[in-house]
């Protein structure tokens, strides 16, 4: 297997218009790629539905011996949290379809580097498309929530509004953490183990399934120090009227993570592009 080192070259200059077209075409490709395997996507919907139904059963069973609230949450909130958490994380926390890691391993990254838009922009655009493509999950998730009687309305109109804003921030945090993770593949090539740890820690610490409010204090402190909670827990907590530290604080922490992670990504990428090894020819 021959390997070729690409010198980092400045991307050729293009007008804003053609750049926009290039980006939007990446978004489109991101939307279409998952649907190339229709059965897989379609079978993914019942998967979410089953999971939501499972958690509603488990929460009700766990609450059965306890009247009222535990850690400030009643059974209705716990089930509602599971419905929304699984739906939101099912849409936002997509595992990358064409991850940088797998493209580095298969040598396709060479093709990506010849495109007129930067790798990070390409990736974000593609992933945005993938998230748009997974939007039907929302209908499935909320529909199942209605069926199992677990969909509580937001505590107030304001909570609903801030929830929407926070979701946008959560999308950015989620994509940036995934990208930062993927960029490490320029150093490690084989990332199976790290990836698995990443996905697992993300699921747990993001509060996708288990609200952070059930955790003992020290574990909550760990979760708060990590970016993952900003990608799922924050919008959900806002929805259920208990934003960590109040709404402005909660949104501020999310914004801070976007800045920090965005900066980290471009820094890591600026180091990584000097190390790119394109496998095969």
């Amino acid at each position: 297997m021959s390997s070729l080192r690409l010198d980092p070259r400045p991307a050729p200059r293009h007008g804003t218009h053609s750049r926009l077209r290039a980006v939007s075409s990446q978004v489109r490709i991101g939307m279409l790629t998952p649907w190339a395997y229709r059965t897989s996507v379609l079978l993914g919907y019942p998967a979410i539905a089953v999971q939501i139904a499972l958690y509603s059963v488990v929460w009700r069973a766990i609450y059965a011996g306890h009247d009222g609230t535990v850690a400030g949450s009643d059974v209705r909130t716990a089930v509602g949290y599971a419905v929304l958490g699984l739906t939101v994380s099912g849409v936002l926390n997509t595992s990358p379809y064409q991850s940088i890691a797998s493209r580095v391993r298969e040598g396709l990254i060479g093709v990506d580097l010849t495109r007129p838009i930067g790798l990070l922009t390409q990736n974000l655009a593609f992933q945005t498309g993938a998230v748009v493509a997974s939007l039907p999950t929302v209908l499935v998730g909320l529909g199942t929530g209605l069926v199992v009687g677990g969909l509580a309305p937001p505590t107030s109109a304001a909570a609903a509004g801030w929830f929407a804003v926070s979701l946008l921030f959560a999308f950015a945090v989620s994509q940036l953490t995934t990208m930062l993770m993927a960029l490490t593949s320029f150093w490690t090539l084989e990332v199976g183990g790290i990836n698995m740890t990443f996905f697992v820690v993300r699921t747990f610490m993001s509060g996708a399934i288990l609200p952070l409010w059930f955790m003992p204090g020290w574990l909550q402190a760990v979760a708060v120090a990590l970016p993952f909670q900003a990608s799922t827990y924050t919008p959900l907590a806002i929805y259920f009227g208990r934003p960590p530290g109040g709404v402005p604080m909660a949104l501020g922490v999310q914004a801070l993570w976007i800045v920090v992670l965005g900066g980290l990504c471009s820094w890591v990428w600026s180091r990584a592009r000097h190390r790119v090894v394109v496998q095969g020819g």
């Binding site: 766990i62 698995m196 699921t203 747990f204």
Partner: protein, 286 residues
């Protein structure tokens, strides 16, 4: 590799009919080769094992957080719930060693790798299962055995040789129960091209319900997890028997006692099903 070719060659020299090695022997040889290949990348081997331990630790933490917040689940305290979890996770680890590669059935079929399996003189299922060594299972086994040992000692069980033997059999049976379900679902790949969402659903159910005393769930769900997706045999039934909570079983005690045998029977059935479904394989053409 040499082992596979040497014996038939020798047999041929001696003028006997060439008999391929038994399926079990083929399996052992291929696993050994896979292990050799996997340990070539030592850093990845270690990192992947650590990743697997994290995975398990997080799911134990999940249960831990719930028991911490709620005190107990349906009258089962932390030690008892953790004991169910210990049986489950050790069984799951052994299942991973045997069946971890089933997750790649989809890509094997889609990329036409399965063509090669059909051309070689080894059972295609054996080739699929030994495709690569399941490195994560090493971490899982370590984790599972530690959790099981600690919780078994802490659990209110009066250990005798017979009970220890039942525990070991139950853990092996648990592995076969889970493998049987996954194998049966993976065999749908030959018709659907991609059965990984089915595997994910089953995996979700096993992970979500696995560690809980299933007696706290609505009876209908309990029966579903006994007779449709047979999770109950994988941990809850054996644990309830060992903990002396037979009054919480929602099936006759003999059925719960037979959990290890149920696992073996189900697995044998799943292997048959897989071989039948292979007939529906159509090569993508490579």
């Amino acid at each position: 590799m040499a082992d596979l070719t040497r014996s038939p060659a020798r047999a041929a020299e001696a003028g006997e009919a060439i008999r391929p090695p038994s399926t079990l022997r083929q399996f052992a040889v291929l696993v050994r080769i896979g292990l050799k290949a996997a340990t070539q990348y030592r850093a990845n081997f270690v990192l992947t094992s650590v990743g697997a331990i994290c995975y398990e630790a997080v799911s134990l933490a999940f249960v831990g957080v719930i028991v911490h917040a709620f005190g107990s689940i349906g009258g089962w305290g932390f030690v008892e719930v953790a004991f169910v979890y210990g049986i489950r996770s050790t069984g799951h680890a052994l299942h991973g060693l045997l069946s971890g590669q089933l997750w790649s059935t989809e890509s094997v079929v889609r990329r036409g790798e399965f063509d090669r399996y059909l051309l070689r003189p080894v059972d295609p299922l054996v080739q699929l299962l030994t495709r690569q060594f399941q490195v994560t299972a090493v971490g899982d086994v370590v984790f599972g055995v530690v959790v099981l040992s600690v919780t078994a000692v802490a659990a209110p069980v009066d250990w005798t040789a017979g009970r220890v033997a039942f525990l070991v059999a139950a853990v092996v049976g648990s592995a076969f129960v889970e493998s049987a379900v996954m194998l049966a679902l993976a065999s749908a790949t030959f018709r659907l091209l991609d059965a990984s969402p089915l595997l994910s659903v089953a995996d979700r159910v096993f992970v979500t319900f696995g560690p809980y005393p299933l007696s706290v769930l609505p009876r209908a769900v309990g029966y579903l997890l006994t007779f449709v997706l047979p999770l109950a045999y994988a941990a809850f039934f054996p644990a309830a028997i060992l903990l002396g909570r037979t009054d919480e079983l929602f099936v006759p005690t003999w059925l719960a006692l037979a959990s290890p045998a149920v696992g073996l029977l189900l697995y044998a059935g799943a292997v048959r099903l897989f071989h039948r479904q292979i007939r529906h394989y159509s090569s993508p053409g490579h």
